[in-house]
């Protein structure tokens, strides 16, 4: 096991150097805070290392990483759901770093706040489409859903965001 996976050390290290920041940024958009995002990404690279023998190209490896990050973020949110609701409703706290909202323009913060209110899948599709700029087919592969579901989810998410921003008088 160790002998076989040792062959993965060098290429995974190279991917780690190249893609770690991008994956952390992707995870931040899904889990809100950088520390958790870094943990998710570290787990994703560990999974990539274990899976290396069955991946045939760099593109496949990056796609696998992206899927691991999305799935890892989803697991975090699932575990965190109760706590997030408690923090936000009772104490007005979030998992965001204290300085993050202050450093963001109010307009951007409004959009991100609305994004956080979307159902989990809608949020994932929006992030993969508008930030990762993936095609519908690649989003479908990442999330394990059909391209048609990606299209309809993106449409609904976009409408929901527009409605949320309008309701808050931010459009």
């Amino acid at each position: 096991m160790v002998a076989r996976t040792a062959e993965a050390d060098a290429p995974v290290a190279e991917l780690f150097q190249t893609h770690r920041l991008g994956m952390v940024r992707l995870a931040v958009l899904l889990v809100d805070d950088r520390e958790t995002a870094e943990d998710v990404v570290q787990e994703a690279f560990a999974a990539l290392h274990r899976k290396w023998g069955s991946l045939t190209s760099t593109d496949a490896a990056v796609g696998y990483l992206r899927t691991c990050v999305v799935n890892g973020s989803r697991s975090i949110l699932r575990r965190r759901r109760t706590a997030r609701g408690y923090w936000r409703n009772e104490d007005g706290l979030t998992a965001e770093p204290a300085d993050a909202p202050a450093l963001l323009a109010a307009e951007y913060q409004h959009v991100l706040t609305a994004l956080a209110k979307l159902p989990r899948r809608q949020r994932e599709v929006i992030v993969l489409r508008y930030w990762s700029e993936l095609s519908e087919a690649d989003i479908a592969a990442t999330l394990g859903i059909s391209p048609g579901a990606v299209k309809s989810t993106a449409s609904r998410a976009r409408d929901a965001l527009a409605t949320l921003l309008t309701e808050e008088g931010l459009s």
Binding site: T5, F45, E133, A137, P147, R158
Partner: protein, 363 residues
């Protein structure tokens, strides 16, 4: 003029970029990439962590087997990407592996296309069920088909995406006129032929007269997916686009209704933004993905009620592997369904690939 829906796209992209730009390499906690030793240790920890529940589950199953026959099926991990296993790291094995990957990519493209077709059919059936649940019915008691916003008065769930009628009928009134008056009198019988409608759409409406061949047809009672294209110098048929058509009808399964082009099934050249059925104003930013070399993207905006394009913009250099392309087009203001069109080519013929998107214009 400010387009609210394009504005939403821009605001989302800008906000996400702004958030992620807050994180730089300098912000990241120093960390090392995983190694064989670390991965093995992690694997052992995982095994130990799950040992107790696994043993408990095994005990439960063993007890259950003694009391009943249990049928089980292996379940694949839904979100786990799979790849062909490479048993050797030699260069020859690598080449074989890359070839297998290319075959797999082709097969996946075909499967994606088929999945899209299945999804469209399922959505059409779902719409009919929604109409039936809403209590709407056509004369005679048959459920109304909510394929188009103007074809029926049935209620639909929030967030519902209508088909956008692109061509040849500008609205249901025109489609109904042909189905009930003109069609029976023998006027424009090609409306009842999905392949002919797709070809006329390509040649006469879009003006792509170098595309003269039907390359594929998948036709069901209410929907059709028609490949249009050309023959290369070797006489091989090449598909430029697969057009999606539906019958412009009130009652699902009405074979007398004419065919309407509503979109395209995109693969290596896609037009994804603005979103299907979204409301746009001029100028509109069109975009999607492209795979190819030395491409030139030509964009148009068209409306079924007008022979001349509302906008014509050429040419955007593009290429690469699944690269993002984007072009902003200013078009003559109008209201109603419009067709966004993008094509690329120039290697063999002018319009080697094209894609369309149906949106609603607001002046």
């Amino acid at each position: 003029m400010n387009d609210p829906m394009n504005d939403i796209d821009d605001r989302i992209s800008a906000a996400l970029r702004a958030r992620t730009d807050q994180i730089t390499h300098a912000d990241l906690t120093p960390a090392s990439p995983p190694t064989a030793t670390a991965a093995a240790a992690r694997g052992r920890r995982t095994t130990v962590r799950w040992a107790a529940p696994l043993l408990a589950a095994a005990a439960v199953i063993a007890i259950a087997v003694t009391t009943a026959v249990i049928a089980t099926e292996p379940q694949a991990t839904k979100h786990q990407p799979a790849g062909p296993v490479s048993s050797s790291q030699s260069s020859q094995a690598r080449i074989q592996s890359q070839l297998a990957e290319q075959r797999r990519a082709r097969e996946e493209a075909i499967q994606r296309l088929l999945a899209e077709q299945r999804r469209a059919r399922e959505e059409a059936a779902s719409r009919a069920q929604s109409a039936a649940r809403a209590g709407s019915s056509a004369p005679g008691g048959a459920p109304l088909a909510c394929l188009f916003a103007d074809a029926a008065a049935c209620r639909v769930p929030a967030g519902y995406v209508w088909y956008v009628p692109l061509w040849p009928f500008a609205n249901y009134a025109q489609a109904s006129q042909w189905a009930t008056v003109d069609g029976p009198a023998g006027h424009s019988p090609w409306h009842s032929d999905a392949a002919a409608t797709a070809l006329f759409f390509t040649n006469n409406y879009l003006g792509f007269r170098d595309l003269t061949v039907i390359t594929s047809t998948t036709i069901t009672a209410d929907e059709a997916h028609i490949g249009v294209g050309y023959k290369d110098p070797n006489g091989v048929k090449r598909t430029s686009a697969v057009l999606h058509l539906v019958r412009y009808e009130r009652v699902l399964g009405d074979k007398t209704a004419g065919w309407e082009v509503v979109g395209s099934d995109d693969t290596t050249f896609s037009l994804e933004s603005p979103a299907y059925d979204s409301t746009v104003t001029s100028p509109v930013t069109m975009g999607g993905h492209i795979t190819g070399t030395d491409e030139n993207i030509h964009a148009w905006v068209r409306a079924a009620t007008q022979s001349a394009p509302l906008a014509d913009k050429c040419c955007l250099p593009a290429g690469g592997q699944n690269s993002v392309w984007r072009v902003t087009v200013t078009f003559t203001p109008r209201s109603g369904p419009i067709t966004l069109v993008a094509s690329t080519g120039g290697h063999l013929i002018e319009h080697e690939r094209f894609a369309i998107q149906g949106v609603i214009a607001r002046s």
